[in-house]
């Protein structure tokens, strides 16, 4: 399957992935600026991404804890998610994943 990462500058990078791959791990391996400091423990929001709107509704809903943690992320939108909480499945082939505009301000955490 295919995943399209879109940088804060608007550059698109298409990468191939297998179903079951974690979105944060894929993004990091693809050179996206996702820190993922707490390695998926939902102790931070440094892996925040914005999902393309056509794809957002295809994701399993975020847990209450994830919703809470997103309150700490910079540049949050209605389609924000923590990438560590998303494992890719076949129905997400082609998913667009945007880096938040304020990604470079890491000190926001």
């Amino acid at each position: 399957m295919k995943v399209v990462f879109v940088t804060a500058d608007g550059d698109r990078k298409e990468v191939q992935a297998r179903a079951g791959t974690n979105l944060l791990a894929l993004g990091q391996a693809s050179g996206m600026p996702l820190e993922g400091t707490c390695e998926g423990q939902m102790a931070c929001s440094t892996c925040h991404v914005v999902i393309g709107k056509d794809w957002f509704s295809k994701l399993e809903a975020a847990s209450e804890e994830e919703e809470d943690m997103l309150d700490l992320a910079a540049g949050v939108t209605a389609h924000s998610r923590l990438s560590c909480q998303i494992d890719l499945s076949d129905n997400l082939d082609g998913i667009e994943v945007h880096m938040p505009g304020l990604w470079h301000d890491m000190q926001i955490g």
């Binding site: 391996a29 390695e39 939902m42 809470d68 700490l72 000190q107 955490g109």
Partner: protein, 408 residues
């Protein structure tokens, strides 16, 4: 290798993040990372949690896939260490006597597990939990039938290890020298809660206990002798009593530092072109009233690394990252916001009996920090109270029904 523009000493969280952040900031010079372990950078927190519990395999611990580093043109010198720093010549010496020159040096070595100096501490079967090798050796013992394990030290590492080993069916005795666990990092309420949890899960948790010696059969540990003479049988012992900053070579080279190495607001040491980050760097912490301290956390290592990478790239901003921390034990998720150093009072929100509550630390009425157990909302909203330096009404603060965001 003769020289790199940036030489990073230490291939842990801080070292890895510094290399990543340099490339993300557009740095085009050469980068070399020198690591003591044979592995590419991996996440350390799971060593006392998911990796230890076999819930995660090692390849899932890599901070980046090993191929990533070649793609980003980051060179690694692994399984070696820096034995000397020559600040005038701008070069470091490795274990084999070879030298590597630098334009900028980033010291990110973390620390070595503190060891007990009592008799028998060099027996086989006495472990730390700091590296993959520590963990692998210990897990091999458990696989081979070791069941009686003594954990020395009631800090987060010791408590996390005790939780995992108990879950794996081991008989765990946890020994803490002080009157309570977590004495260095948390208040009494949190300590009492975790002590009860561990005892309820079957850990023989003892406080105010001195260790006299490790007993052995000449080769391997067989028990731990306490100062009152009792001997607790053990086929393996974990010593989790903190770390000693690994800064020897840097201090010998003339860098200032008493507890670790001193750094300024840009993580610069007193040596020209030498930075230090992470567990080994002592800095004046904005979130502890300017107190000079070391902060041992992934957050601190990562954020200092990014601060340094930007500074090297000409984007200078003082280090002012918000401190946070987490610890998982049993089914309990602890999230900590801020630093509680110097607190003079605490307020408990919610009921520890219900296993979802928060401890708020205050100084002269100002919120310094929160420890939140299975209470993510408090963590998220409480963090904003810390950032704002809020002075909330104490009865409202104690009311768990009252969202913290309304107290801003």
């Amino acid at each position: 290798m003769e020289k790199a523009d940036v030489v990073i000493v230490g291939a842990g969280h801080g070292g890895a993040q510094c290399a990543i952040a340099l490339r993300q900031s557009g740095f085009e010079g050469t980068i070399a990372v020198i690591g003591r372990e044979p592995e590419y950078p991996y996440e350390r927190p799971p060593l006392s949690k998911e990796y230890f519990a076999r819930e995660k395999t090692f390849d899932r611990l890599y901070i980046r896939p090993p191929t990533f580093w070649a793609e980003k043109d980051v060179e690694f010198l692994l399984d070696t260490e820096v034995t000397a720093v020559d600040p005038a010549a701008h070069q470091v010496t490795l274990r084999d006597g070879s030298t590597v020159g630098y334009s900028k040096l980033v010291w990110a070595t973390g620390g070595d597990p503190r060891r007990l100096s009592c008799p028998g501490s060099d027996l086989a079967g006495v472990y730390a939990v700091r590296t993959r090798q520590d963990c692998d050796l210990l897990m091999a013992e458990v696989d081979a039938g070791t069941r009686d394990i003594v954990v020395i030290g009631g800090g987060y590492i010791g408590l996390e290890a005790a939780a995992v080993l108990t879950k794996l069916g081991c008989n765990v005795t946890l020994l803490e020298a002080l009157p309570r666990v977590l004495a260095r990092v948390a208040g009494e309420e949190l300590a009492e809660f975790y002590q009860k949890e561990h005892r309820d899960h079957g850990v023989d948790l003892r406080t105010d206990v001195g260790v006299e010696a490790f007993e052995g059969d000449g080769h391997k540990v067989t028990g731990v002798k306490l100062s009152d003479g009792e001997v607790i049988p053990a086929q393996a012992v974990i010593v989790g009593i903190g770390i000693v900053p690994a800064v020897g070579a840097l201090i010998l080279a003339g860098a200032a530092g008493a507890n670790g190495v001193d750094v300024d607001e840009y993580c610069r040491t007193s040596l020209d072109d030498v930075y230090a980050i992470g567990d080994c760097a002592a800095f004046a912490c904005d979130f502890a009233g300017g107190q000079v301290m070391r902060v041992e956390s992934v957050q601190n290592a990562n954020d200092m690394a990014t601060c340094v990478a930007k500074h090297i790239c000409g984007d200078s901003k003082p280090y002012h990252a918000f401190p946070w921390f987490w610890s998982n034990q049993f089914d309990l998720r602890l999230q900590t916001a801020g630093i509680n150093a110097g607190f003079d009072s605490t307020v408990v929100r919610g009921d520890p009996e219900a296993r979802s509550f928060s401890v708020v630390y205050l100084k002269e009425g100002k919120v310094l920090a929160l420890d939140c157990v299975n209470a993510t909302k408090d963590y998220v909203q409480g963090r904003k109270l810390v950032e704002a330096g809020a002075h909330p009404d104490l009865s409202e603060l104690a009311d768990a029904e009252k969202p913290l965001k309304e107290l801003l």
